[in-house]
Structure formats: structure tokens, C-alpha cells
Symmetry: C2
Subunit: 237 residues, 2 copies
Amino acid sequence: MNYAAIMAGGSGSRMGVTDVPKQFIALDGLPIIIHTLKVFADCEQIEKTVVMCPNAWVDYTRGLIDAHLAPYSQKLYVAPGGATRNETLEKAVDYICRAFSPDSGSVIVTHDAVRPFLTGRMITENIKYASLYAACGTVFNATDTVVLSADGRFIDSSPDRSTVFNCQTPQSFRLGEYLDSLSKLEKSERDALTDACSLFTLTGKKVYMVQGSAENIKITRPADIQTAMGIIKTRSV
Amino acid sequence: MNYAAIMAGGSGSRMGVTDVPKQFIALDGLPIIIHTLKVFADCEQIEKTVVMCPNAWVDYTRGLIDAHLAPYSQKLYVAPGGATRNETLEKAVDYICRAFSPDSGSVIVTHDAVRPFLTGRMITENIKYASLYAACGTVFNATDTVVLSADGRFIDSSPDRSTVFNCQTPQSFRLGEYLDSLSKLEKSERDALTDACSLFTLTGKKVYMVQGSAENIKITRPADIQTAMGIIKTRSV
């Protein structure tokens, strides 16, 4: 059994629309999160999907699902997220454990609500490689040259671009491996985690890289909406 | 004396408009390269600017400058680029040396023609820090988490995001330091250079990082045009 946790806990302060979290902004006539959830609902390998959203928006999110994804509503759950990304992830795993009693080999696929252009192929490959290894993440070859600098003033090194990858989501893991890795960290280390993959790399586990896409963008700024519209136009040609 | 070299040598095969290099595509009514050149022409610290473009487009580029930037035309030169980015850079430096006889302390500011949203502040800071140190590059804090992987299959490490920067342009250097660094490399090493900064990091010189911006994007794909339009709209509010 495989489960999905959609991370929709952000307050969206970078969008300039402070009263509406960014995942609820309309894109081509539908809220961004509905585009995202449709991809998960359509994936037969995902048994249940839990949306983790700000507490004040739980009922609203449930209403959106009932309005736009009614045929899938028994596969889609909504629960309140935490104060940080890692707390939201811990709450998501906790929710899945209580509600569905998964076994330790179950795969949990985590994904950003504001990345609506993931594909079913990315989800199924995440499930495949998280089953094979402890964990996997979706990445895309860096298009920009990056440099590393510890002091923020001078370049320390310029890694060969072919070795640099941008992290996207989904990021996925076997439940048992997640609980095992989490138990090895102190509370302060857990609070510092910014994504699921770093939990596994920190505890010395192998994380496989699934191929993402240039289109699998995270919509966080107004200009990203323009980019997203461009992607939709290109797709519909 | 400070000089600018605008790198417009690309064929634009990623734009889906194979017959027109991307720098000539219109953005808000003007070719992208005209937006870019206007910023350099307006900068009083830049004495002369040389546009390095494909041989077949030299006359066309000259015509664009005469049509749109006539008041600045005596500051703007056009010359044919090379087959690779580094060859184009070498030709640009060669052109500047022959045409203007700069001294070894002169700063050369190099910039991508398809980054029209640089600012005068970025140019003047490039001049300041290339004068102070051997070289500098314009960078922006990475917004995406990046991971490094030598084999392309498993994550080797996840550098702390605060130490990761995306390279933009301008990239600038003192002429004497450039010629000195270049003389230390074999032909094969020179051919492998993808940007001016890597020449200096490779030869052990300090490269200062000037702060770029999220808007200073490189327009290489159709979706980037949408992003660029969004940036222009946001600016004109």
C-alpha cells in the first residue's frame, strides 16, 4: 500500500496575496492544489492521499475537493499541518499511521501542493525506487551554473554542472526506514530538517534520484504564475 | 577605463524558433538585446560595449542598434563571436585590445545578451569589485535546494542552501589578470571553460560575488518569455 502526503502548510507570504495561501490561487480556472491532487487521485498505485494544510483552511480545502474532485473524495483526506515543514511531515506520517494502519514497508510519497506539473510517471517511479531503496527524491539537472561559498563573499568552488541537481518533489520513503531514521535524530536536528531527503542523507542512507522535469516548478512568486500559464499553453498545443 | 562584452553568440535552438537567435526575439516591443544594451549604454562607467554575435547576424545587430539606440551608437560595437562561449570571450577580449588599446588594469564586464533585467547597480558593483580583486561574478542565493551526485543515481551530499548560489552575469575581471590566468591553461582546459569566473577559480584566484537578483533571468525557453513579461508588468506598476 502506498500513501501520499501533500504539503500545503505554507502561508504564501511571498505571493503578495497574504490572505490566500498560494495553493488556493486559481490557475487556468482551477485552484493550484486541485491540479496537483488530480494527478495523485488518478494514480492507481496511491491508495489514500492526505492534504496537510493550515488549520484555518482545512474546511475550505475539503470544500474544494468536494466541488472539483467529488468522484475521488473517498481517496482524499485533509488534516492540519504543523508550524514547520518537518513538523507537517511528522504530522502527515502520524495521520497516515492512525487512519490507515500501514505496514512498515508501505511507501509514503510526499509532494508540494504548489507543484501542479508533476506527472503520474514521477509518482510511480517514486514508489518503485522508495520500495527498492530506503528513500528517493525527484531531481532535475541544474540549468544554472552554481557556486559554493561558505562566507557569502568569495567563491569556494564551482562544481561541474553535470553533478548538480535541483531538488523537486515528490520525495518518498518506506515508512519503517523513515521512523528508524527519525528516531536517530535529536529534536534540534529534526527541527532543522527542510525536506524528507535530508533526513535520510543525514542518517547515512542511500537516496535514489528520480528524474523530474523543467516544468515541475514550485509556484511561490507572482512571476511563477506567468511561467505556469506558459507551461499550460505549451501543453495544450 | 572599463569595457563591456555582450555575449550574443548562441544559436537559440532551445527556443523553438531556430531561424532567429533568442536575443532578437521581441519583448515588450523591443528585441531582448536592445533592452540589455540600453542598460550598458546608460552606464557612464562603461566606455565602450562590444556585442559578440553570430557572424551572419553582425549587420542585422548593427541595424538594430542604429534603429533603437542611435544616440549611443558611438559607444556600441558589433563583432563576430566564436564557436564556443570561451572562444567568443577570447575574441571579445582580442577585439577590445585591438580597437581600444586598454591598459592591464582596465575592467572588462561580460554579460549574457539574453539577461535584459540586469541593473546599473550590478554593473557598477562589478567594476568596483573586479578592480579590487582579480575578478567577480554576479550571483543570487539559490532558491531551490540542490544536491550533488557524481554518478547521477544517488545523492552524495546536500550542501546547506545558504552556501549555494546561482551564477548570473555580469562576470568581470581586470584585463591583466585575465591574460595571466589564460596563459596558465592548456588549450584543452581553455576549451572546457564555460564562463569567465571558472577561469579564475581554476587558476586559484579569488572571485568576489556581487549580489544579483531573482529578476536577472536568462531567457532561453519559451516559458521564460512569459516570466519576462510578468517581470515587466510588476516593474511598471
